[in-house]
């Protein structure tokens, strides 16, 4: 662009952004019309809560390069404060239940101030280890002070407390809780997205990419990390408060390393480099934790395998996979590569089927041996001890491997050609 030739165009509204955000709001609004069963509503409430939680987690990991292994501390402690407040409301305190997540958020931020002072002294791997230590510390403490943490059973409450909002919203029916979660989700998502555009959010990106240069231009990286951690703790606390309203019980599991590990897994699977990645991760979380866990005992194994595969072959997560297709779609050449993708999906499904059969049969042999050697698969009884099903597994893996090789070759040739054309057309 020539000097001075740039025309300043005043664009008061970013159209694409408006469409995306109103679409998001609309989606939140109409979802219960389609999924109005009790189970689906509870699941959506849970997913919404996890979305806020994982977005706050990604403030650290994706935007500031801080891998926290103890993020559940903030959401869990926030949840504890929220549920104690809820109990106080039940005893007659005047505080609206709908603002309860704010209590959780403030508690999360408070503990962010406290723990962040220690943890953000370091970055990178030492930071990860220290957050792990803090997480263990809080978890061990939660069992030491039963007066506050409720011991093994946790603290339970009743969300129908205080004056109803607008006279009729008591948060008794799940649908009202859903809309509460939806409103908070929308506000928090917008706030966290706005945060990425503030000077602090920008300098946090710089701290992630090159802390040394940030120090040279006069910022203290430790303080940037500290501030981001406090804000992230605030949003995690909001998620904790919403969870407390949704489940009406908070136990030491809420601050455990398992919870911290879960948010890490799903945020990463969803996609760390993009703002919306963790939201995809939260939806996958719903699938794994709620759907798959009820079907099979081996769901953690599948989750672990899925995660390791993502780390090894697609460290940008699913969001990156989607965004990578954008230039191709934009150039109108998605049709060329589409058959190869179909082939890849077929290969993936075949390999997955082989894996699932093998794992389920081994699980059956090791854990359900007392129930005999036959296992029911989709209505068929399979004799696990005989050779036939294992030959089937071998055959499936063979077919899957052949398909996989073919798909990989197809994708890479098409990809290289299309991207090459796109780059050439841009530079020309």
């Amino acid at each position: 662009m020539a000097q001075g030739a740039q025309k300043i165009v005043f664009r008061p509204l970013n159209l694409a952004r408006c469409i995306i955000w109103s679409g998001f709001a609309l989606l939140l609004l109409v979802l219960p019309l389609f999924f109005n069963k009790g189970f689906a509503l509870t699941l959506m409430c849970q997913i919404g809560t996890i979305m806020i939680f994982s977005l706050s987690f990604n403030m650290l990991l994706g935007q500031s390069g801080m891998l926290s292994l103890g993020h559940a501390v903030y959401s869990g402690l926030g949840a504890y404060f929220a549920i104690h407040m809820l109990n106080l409301i039940g005893k007659g305190w005047l505080f609206p239940v709908s603002l309860l997540p704010l209590v959780g958020g403030l508690a999360g931020a408070l503990f962010g101030v406290l723990f962040g002072y220690v943890t953000t002294k370091k970055s990178g791997t030492p930071f990860a280890m220290i957050t792990l230590g803090i997480g263990e510390l809080v978890f061990a403490m939660s069992l030491m002070f039963p007066e506050f943490f409720g011991g093994e059973g946790g603290v339970s409450s009743n969300r129908i407390a205080g004056e109803p909002l607008f006279g009729f919203i008591t948060f008794g029916p799940q649908i009202q809780v859903y809309y509460l979660v939806a409103v908070w989700l929308f506000i928090c998502t917008a706030a966290m997205y706005a945060f990425t555009h503030t000077p602090l959010g920008r300098i946090a990106n710089a701290v992630r990419d090159n802390p040394e240069r940030v120090e040279f231009i006069g910022y203290e990286t430790q303080r940037v990390r500290y501030l981001v951690l406090i804000i992230s703790g605030f949003f995690a606390g909001i998620a904790g408060g919403l969870g407390a309203i949704n489940f009406e019980i908070v136990s030491s599991e809420n601050v455990s390393a398992i919870r911290s590990g879960t948010v890490l897994l799903f945020t990463f699977i969803g996609g760390v480099p993009f703002f919306f990645g963790p939201m995809i991760g939260a939806v996958i979380f719903g699938f794994f934790i709620v759907v798959l866990a009820t079907i099979t005992k081996a769901w953690l194994l599948y989750l672990g395998l899925f995660f390791v595969m993502m780390v090894m072959y697609c460290p940008g997560g699913i969001a990156t996979l989607i965004m990578m297709q954008f230039p191709i779609v934009k150039a109108g050449r998605f049709r060329e590569i589409f058959p190869s993708y179909c082939l890849a999906v077929a290969a993936g499904l075949t390999l997955l089927a082989a894996l699932v059969f093998a794992v389920e049969m081994i699980y059956h042999l090791s854990l359900e041996a007392a129930a005999g050697t036959t296992k029911a698969f989709f209505g068929y009884d399979v004799e696990v001890a005989s050779a036939t099903p294992w030959l089937g597994v071998a055959l499936l893996s063979g077919i899957g491997a052949v398909l996989f090789v073919a798909a990989r070759r197809g994708i890479s040739t098409h990809w290289d050609r299309i991207m090459g054309d796109i780059i050439r057309s841009q530079t020309a």
């Binding site: 220690v118 791997t125 220290i130 030491m144 672990g304 390791v308 780390v311």
Partner: protein
């Protein structure tokens, strides 16, 4: 005196076991910058393999073979998984080992089930070593200490007295120069990773039957090992040794002590009743706080000496 000596011995033997674990972790970390989150999982695998081998061939072959198998497994993990994500940086490497820890635990569920295994101390070790006043000290504990000390000696000799040890030490600080001199640094990394995992496996072989062999054993010891590595100073073997002993002894003593602020203040003349402000804090006994002591120690070290006891760099 009896309590003191026995607790000290128990603490030292526990600390030495911690050192067997943290030494591998520290070696791997200082060489490759990889925090091996699955380190405790390799410890668990060591115990399970040892059980499987000892059922067939007895304990002594297991003592030799199980660490070797775990070491080979570790080398394979480095070669085919870690090396692939190495180019993405340290955080993906950490995440990979994090996922691996999940996977190994689930594989253990898959193969050996969810309950604890009957992995026993060998019969020839199943007796008292000596009697101190009235308490007997089990022979197996002594054996654990012996193995740990021998291992410490072996690491020291390998690192300082052999050619490969010198290459390893040089690759720690100057990998590029070592590579320029014609050494295969990636292979050295693979060896170190496999070796570190083998050390964890050895700890599993002798720790699995001293304590309990179950799928939760990795999680039980995992975070303590990280505490040891940070407290000792990231990447310092000597620091890991001191920190292991310190944490082992502190924890063993704390578990056996039944004092609280209430008893302390009572001896000073104050009376504390359940109505006193913050009573739940005052009534905690030291034994009850034992699980958090290592982490408290970690936080204190980070505030007052961020590079750890013997660390040379602030990471």
């Amino acid at each position: 005196m009896e309590f003191f000596l026995i607790s000290l011995l128990n603490g030292v033997s526990y600390g030495l076991l911690l050192f067997m674990l943290s030494s591998g972790l520290t070696l791997i970390f200082s060489m490759m910058g990889v925090l091996n989150f699955a380190h405790a999982s390799f410890y668990m695998l060591g115990a399970y393999f040892a059980y499987q081998i000892s059922v067939k061939f007895g304990f002594w072959p297991a003592l030799l073979m199980a660490p070797l198998v775990v070491g080979v497994l570790g080398a394979l993990v480095e070669r085919f998984m870690l090396r692939r994500v190495h180019k993405f940086g340290h955080v993906p490497e950490l995440l990979l080992t994090f996922g691996l820890a999940y996977l190994i635990e689930e594989f253990v569920h898959l193969i050996w089930g969810r309950s604890s295994l009957d992995y026993k101390v060998p019969t020839e070790m199943d007796g008292p070593l000596f009697t101190l006043y009235t308490t007997t000290f089990p022979m197996y504990r002594g054996f654990m200490m012996l193995v740990a000390v021998l291992m410490l000696l072996a690491i020291f000799l390998v690192l300082t007295r052999t050619r490969i040890g010198l290459v390893i030490q040089a690759s720690l600080t100057h990998p590029d120069t070592v590579e320029a001199l014609g050494h295969n640094v990636p292979r050295v990394f693979m060896l170190v990773f496999g070796g570190g995992c083998a050390l964890a496996g050895l700890a599993g072989v002798i720790g699995g039957n001293a304590f309990v062999t179950e799928p939760g054993m990795a999680a039980a010891v995992g975070s303590i090992v990280f505490v040891v590595a940070v407290v000792g100073g990231m990447g310092s073997l000597a620091g890991a040794f001191v920190a292991s002993l310190l944490i082992g002894v502190i924890q063993t003593f704390a578990v056996a002590m039944d004092y609280s602020f209430v008893t302390l203040l009572k001896s000073a003349g104050f009376v504390i009743t359940p109505d006193t402000f913050l009573y739940s804090l005052w009534k905690l006994t030291i034994a009850q706080t034992a699980p958090i002591l290592p982490y408290l120690f970690l936080v204190l070290i980070l505030i007052f000496r961020p590079r750890g006891l013997m660390g040379t760099r602030e990471g």
